[in-house]
């Protein structure tokens, strides 16, 4: 971590002359389009908050999960009809590097705040603002003591009561199983299989089923699937900071040939401010990549996902899980 930045230093007004002129140009443009994969409510909150701060700029967004966002963007970029100004994927950040011609190289010139941004959360074309970390979700009424480690899950009290997300439903989940295999060996996966798990395609359904009481525990899962239910009084809790904790980062990239390049820069810069984090972390889903925010703390044993699990390895994992 790279601490020490006072929140007032990242205030939009304090960015010096550059940010001043960017802001003027952005207001001139008056519009901004986001392409993002984050949860609908987070995107919505960001957009609203940004518009509160800059009422002159109206924000549209397009949300699609993972690769769907890439495909949509790629189609548009290939046909030269880019509508996105800011591109915020949550998976496979390599997409941006591999298609560098569609994006703008980032530096303090474009986003002044980057000058002080932690190195490990910054690349040539992207910087990461937030992380969503894997959790286990359990039902507080049926589970006496929450698991304290991943291995605690392999308990016969969960026999037939566990909901697992299908590794093949997305690379993020596949990554988690592969990290688990690396750390705990094949036994962990076969152990899961022996619990007679129910398989679902997304953590959302898993959380749903735990909330409804039909199952005890769901993993791998994400806070975004739980917080709404918790807020609505569902009898569930999440276990965080298990070792290891895979975290999915939200990256920010600026598109080349953006219709509103200045608004994009302004927004990117704004994302690093306290104001933005208030919006992003409002519902307690994200951890920030910097300190001094009200977000969830970044897990001590945070690991980045393995986005490219080789084919044979995938087949092996699927087989061990008995799918």
């Amino acid at each position: 971590g790279c601490g020490g930045q006072a929140s007032d230093e990242r205030d939009p007004g304090a960015g010096g002359d550059e940010i001043q002129s960017i802001e003027e140009a952005a207001i001139e443009e008056g519009q901004l389009t986001l392409y993002a994969s984050a949860g609908e409510s987070q995107i919505e909150a960001m957009a609203e908050k940004f518009m509160d701060d800059y009422p002159e700029i109206s924000v549209d967004y397009f949300r699609a999960a993972g690769t769907a966002l890439f495909n949509r963007f790629a189609t548009e970029a290939e046909s030269g009809s880019v509508t996105a100004d800011v591109f915020m994927p949550t998976v496979q950040p390599s997409f941006v590097e591999e298609n560098a011609e569609w994006f703008v190289e980032l530096g303090p010139d474009e986003v002044p705040a980057l000058a002080e941004w932690p190195e490990e959360f910054q690349d040539e074309y992207t910087f990461e603002i937030a992380v969503e970390e894997v959790v286990a979700i359990y039902n507080t009424e049926t589970v006496q003591s929450a698991p304290a480690s991943w291995e605690d899950v392999l308990d016969e009290q969960y026999q037939g009561r566990i909901v697992l997300v299908d590794p093949e439903s997305s690379p993020g989940y596949m990554s988690w199983y592969s990290i688990m295999q690396d750390r705990f060996g094949d036994e962990f996966l076969t152990g899961l299989a022996e619990l007679d798990p129910v398989w679902v395609d997304t953590g959302a359904v898993g959380a749903q089923q735990v909330a409804a009481g039909s199952h005890d525990i769901s993993l791998p899962n994400y806070p975004s699937h739980a917080v709404a239910l918790i807020g609505q009084g569902a009898p569930i809790e999440m276990v965080t900071d298990l070792d290891p904790t895979q975290g999915i980062t939200t990256s920010v990239a600026l598109t080349a040939n953006a219709p509103n390049p200045n608004a994009a820069k302004l927004f990117a810069n704004w994302l690093t401010t306290q104001s933005a984090y208030e919006a992003v972390c409002a519902d307690g889903v994200y951890s920030a990549t910097v300190e001094g925010t009200d977000c969830l703390p970044l897990a001590s044993n945070f690991v980045e996902p393995v986005w490219e699990v080789p084919g044979e390895r995938q087949e092996e994992i699927v087989e061990l899980l008995g799918r």
Binding site: Y35, E44, D60, T67, N71, T75, S79, T83, L229
Partner: protein
């Protein structure tokens, strides 16, 4: 002038259909100018290929047969017996359409998911280990069947309505009972309509996206239509080639079904004798109430039950099989209605539905008028009219996914730059729903007998006056309900929308799938409830407007 307009429309239609699909196929299969036969081999050798094909054929095949059966029986009951439901019966085919198909499918997930489904919640209180599970192949077939029934009901009930009742009576006095009469006389006598209904079912079944995306995905059942979208969206880079190969398979299946239909219907050497409609209905005696109850139960099943489930989930803080009204909250509605995307989706879809529906009706009216053969010579020659007719019906052979795929390839970039605009959605919808539009408008217009227009000519009215004073006014009720139908179809479209809706133009279907796939069922249910409310009131309004105020003989 009309002729020029019609020719332009026909040409535009064919360009809008052939050009994108052609470009797509060429781009996928002739990447370097030569045919890349390897594409097929690659797709066929994928591990998922045969299971997808098998599941799709099993699901579509079985549900088409079931839908045909159910539709035939319902149509027969409603049109030919005294167990009909009167006005409710005539609305029957429209009722399931009032709810966006994806909401219906979601409703069934809410109702019949293992453990958490409402039905299972109720069954849990009953003795015995009863439970239902929609997340299975039979469950998927069930949802498919319900969504497909209207497609078959409309043509079959039309044919039965025109069936001379004495055909059935002749069978009765020849010594045949009611059951034998249905299966030996009533249904065979409308076998042509049943054949073409079956064709419609196959086409619609393969194109269906809502049920497999909602039910199939959760159940781990992979269906062709969803797989195509997945290939385009859930891998990067998009596997356009495989998607096109699958689309081509879809195309071949549908064309084969179409050919088969032509062979079967042309082999029927018999011609229908007189279509003397009549009020005489078969009395079913005691059975009347049984069948009427059955029909009502069916209606409840198809419309009210899933709607109820959706509404309950919309009010529940989170989805649970325990229904506790004291917990109900407006939270999801507030969330959805405060969300810019949802509100814009509502606006865009309603606008597209109203404007697009009106445009589609106008186009079809124009073409219909041009096709009419009068002594002036028709505006379109008979051969040209047949060609235009064919063009209008052609999109029926393509699934919405294929068409949308073609539109992305062809129109999103320069010189058109239609990506993410309302225009591309509108054009795609128009092309996609042209067969439905031309059929319903054609029906509406054909209810105006030739003699009525000829009487106008003989009253020295010009062609234009005849159209304005006689043809169109008489067709208005039919045209309004055609508009209502198209509104519903446009506003609830899912498959093409998932691929074409943009940041500035979110539409209902797209947003519903989005929220669903995001896993947040509460807001999805709330949104679906709002949409159902809007589409039903629009349809009701249009149908009421079209009510006939004069008595016809």
């Amino acid at each position: 002038m009309v002729r020029v307009a019609v020719l332009i429309i026909a040409a535009a239609l064919i360009v809008l259909l052939v050009y994108p699909i052609g470009r797509m196929v060429i781009r996928a299969l002739f990447p370097e100018g030569g045919l890349d036969a390897g594409a097929f081999a690659r797709v066929v050798s994928q591990p998922w290929f045969w299971p997808v094909l098998q599941d799709t054929f099993v699901v579509v095949g079985t549900s088409s047969v079931l839908a045909l059966l159910i539709a035939s029986v319902l149509a027969w009951l409603n049109e030919r017996t005294d167990a009909g439901l009167g006005w409710l019966g005539t609305f029957m085919p429209l009722l399931p359409l009032l709810m966006p198909p994806i909401a219906t499918a979601a409703g069934w997930v809410f109702l019949a998911s293992p453990e958490v489904g409402f039905i299972n919640g109720v069954l849990a209180y009953l003795p015995g280990n009863l439970s239902v599970n929609v997340l299975t192949i039979p469950g998927l077939i069930f949802v498919y069947t319900l969504e497909l029934v209207p497609f078959a009901y409309i043509p079959i009930s039309g044919a039965l309505r025109n069936l001379d009742p004495s055909l059935e009576e002749a069978s009765r006095v020849s010594g045949a009972g009611v059951i034998k009469t249905i299966f030996r006389v009533s249904l065979p006598a409308v076998s042509q309509a049943m054949t073409s209904a079956f064709f419609l079912l196959i086409v619609a079944g393969f194109a269906l996206y809502s049920a497999p995306v909602v039910v199939g995905t959760n159940a781990g059942i992979d269906i062709l239509s969803v797989r195509i979208v997945r290939l385009m969206q859930f891998t990067y880079p998009a596997d356009l080639q495989s998607a096109t190969v699958l689309a081509t398979i879809l195309l071949v299946v549908v064309l084969a079904a179409w050919l088969l239909q032509n062979v079967v219907t042309s082999r029927g050497r018999y011609a229908m004798i007189s279509g003397r409609g009549s009020q005489v209905k078969i009395p079913l005696g005691r059975w009347r109430h049984v069948f009427r109850t059955g029909t009502i139960i069916y209606l409840l099943l198809t419309t009210l039950l899933p709607l109820l489930a959706v509404v309950i989930v919309a009010f529940q803080p989170f989805w649970t099989p325990v229904i506790d009204p004291s917990m109900f909250t407006m939270e999801h509605f507030e969330r959805v209605l405060n969300r810019r995307n949802s509100v814009r989706a509502l606006q865009t879809s309603v606008m597209l539905g109203l404007v697009g529906g009106a445009i589609a009706v106008a186009i079809c009216v124009l073409i219909n008028i041009a096709k009419r053969r009068t002594s002036f010579g028709s505006i379109l020659g008979p051969r040209l009219a047949r060609v235009v007719d064919g063009i209008m019906r052609l999109p029926a052979a393509f699934s919405a996914i294929v068409i949308a795929l073609g539109f992305i390839v062809a129109f999103s970039g320069p010189p058109f730059n239609l990506n993410g605009t309302a225009a591309i959605l509108l054009l795609c919808y128009l092309v996609n729903f042209m067969p439905q539009a031309s059929t319903t408008v054609g029906n509406a217009m054909s209810q105006v007998g030739n003699d009525l227009t000829e009487a106008s000519y003989m009253s020295h009215a010009s062609e234009r006056r005849t159209i304005g004073q006689v043809t169109v006014p008489l067709a208005i009720p039919g045209l309004l309900s055609a508009w209502a139908l198209l509104f519903v179809l446009f506003a609830g479209e899912v498959a093409a929308s998932t691929m074409l809706a943009g940041a500035q133009t979110p539409v209902i279907g797209f947003v519903l799938v989005e929220i669903w796939e995001n896993g947040t069922v509460g807001p999805m249910a709330a949104f679906a409830t709002v949409v159902t409310l809007i589409t039903s009131s629009a349809v009701l309004l249009l149908v009421l407007l079209g009510r006939q105020r004069y008595r016809r003989r």
